[in-house]
């Protein structure tokens, strides 16, 4: 084994015997470009809604629920697709999320969610994953479209304006704290307080970690 490695090390570190320097550098460059292009193409292929709903788990459950909501059907016809909310747009975070998603491939291979009943049983767990993720990144995927700076609260209902002023603009809460279940049905919400709960910190601590302060948003010491 050691001998085998040593031989390959000698070949890899020694000068090229047959190929010219120009071929190796240019060839390396071209194949690098090709690899990078292919990698990103494949990555983007998995980043389409058609790919997501290629599996029955997604098509029959979450996709059906999405279609009734404001993020699918609305007066202006702008809509969010699965990756808009569930995959970060920025490259590093996207790769991290894609690596996490290998767990979902495992679940698909072994039929973790084959029936509606199995999906319903998993719903709270799955929802908690997304709540945690969006809480940790300060609702990044919401903010890809909804910017607090562009939000004209005079055009909101007084109720919404008051709450956004109180919680969103101060950074005390993030989108997902209040806006859960905006694109899919909610799971059993026992022990999950709404974001405007005056007992938020206490309630969040009681509820099995959901909504607990993670990252800078959690500490409201100021």
């Amino acid at each position: 084994m050691i001998g085998f490695l040593k031989r390959w090390w000698r070949v890899a570190t020694g000068p090229s015997k047959f190929f010219s320097l120009g071929f190796l550098t240019l060839g390396g460059f071209v194949s690098g470009v090709l690899f990078w292009g292919a990698f990103n193409t494949a990555l983007e292929f998995t980043n389409r809604e058609a790919f997501c709903i290629g599996c029955h788990e997604m098509r029959d459950n979450v996709y059906q629920e999405l279609q009734d909501t404001i993020h699918f059907t609305n007066r202006s016809g702008v809509r969010a697709t699965c990756p808009d909310c569930h995959v970060p747009h920025e490259w590093t975070h996207k790769i991290a999320r894609k690596m996490q998603a290998s767990k979902e491939v495992w679940g698909w291979l072994f039929g973790t969610i084959d029936t509606r009943q199995e999906f319903q049983a998993m719903r709270r767990t799955l929802a908690e994953h997304e709540w945690h993720r969006l809480k940790a990144n300060d609702s990044l995927e919401c903010r890809n479209c909804h910017g607090a700076d562009s939000m004209d609260i005079t055009r909101q209902s007084p109720r919404a304006a008051r709450i956004h002023e109180r919680f969103l603009f101060t950074g005390e809460r993030t989108c997902i704290d209040c806006h859960k279940g905006i694109a899919h049905e909610l799971p059993n919400m026992e022990g999950v307080p709404p974001g405007w709960d005056p007992q938020w910190d206490r309630a969040a601590a009681l509820s099995s970690g959901v909504g607990q302060g993670q990252g800078p948003m959690g500490d409201s010491g100021d």
Partner: protein
């Protein structure tokens, strides 16, 4: 003689019409299976202004949009504002104390199961034109009219 003829015609004509399957319909498209364009959906009254109740135990109507509100075994969106604990934070009217009683009048810690499905009694209002006139008068209007009638005599 002319009157007799007219009467006979008046009796006969509806029978002929019935035989032809042309009886006039009170509601819906005529003839029956015809497809007519659906009327436009009326807009919600979503101004957050509370409406007067017509009688004391009328379930108050909802002055905001409740589109996509989830009310089921898993969660109740209405209660995230109108439940006792959250009413102050969002300045929503708290659901009345009767919702925290069972049917024997015993008080409960949370919302009674029989009061859980809000939209069974509480409904949003739209700008739709009423199909028939509403001549309802509340008790004060009736009493006022009676009083005036008595004073007038």
């Amino acid at each position: 003689m002319k009157a007799w003829l007219l009467l006979a015609a008046a009796l006969l004509l509806p029978c002929l019409a019935l035989a032809a399957g042309e009886s006039p319909r009170l509601v819906g498209p005529s003839p029956m299976p015809a497809e007519v364009p659906a009327p436009p959906l009326p807009a919600d009254r979503a101004d957050d202004v509370r409406r007067t109740r017509n009688y004391p135990d009328q379930p108050p109507v909802i002055p905001h949009s409740i589109t996509d509100y989830q009310i089921d075994l898993n969660t109740n969106r209405c209660l995230t504002c109108h439940a006792r604990q959250y009413a102050e934070a969002v300045q929503a009217p708290m659901i009345s104390v009767t919702h925290y009683q069972d049917r024997d009048g015993q008080f409960l810690g949370g919302v009674s199961a029989r009061r859980y499905f809000c939209t069974q009694c509480h409904v949003p209002q739209t700008d739709a034109r009423p199909l028939v006139d509403n001549r309802f008068e509340d008790i004060d209007t009736i009493l006022e009219r009676l009083r005036r009638g008595r004073d007038g005599q």
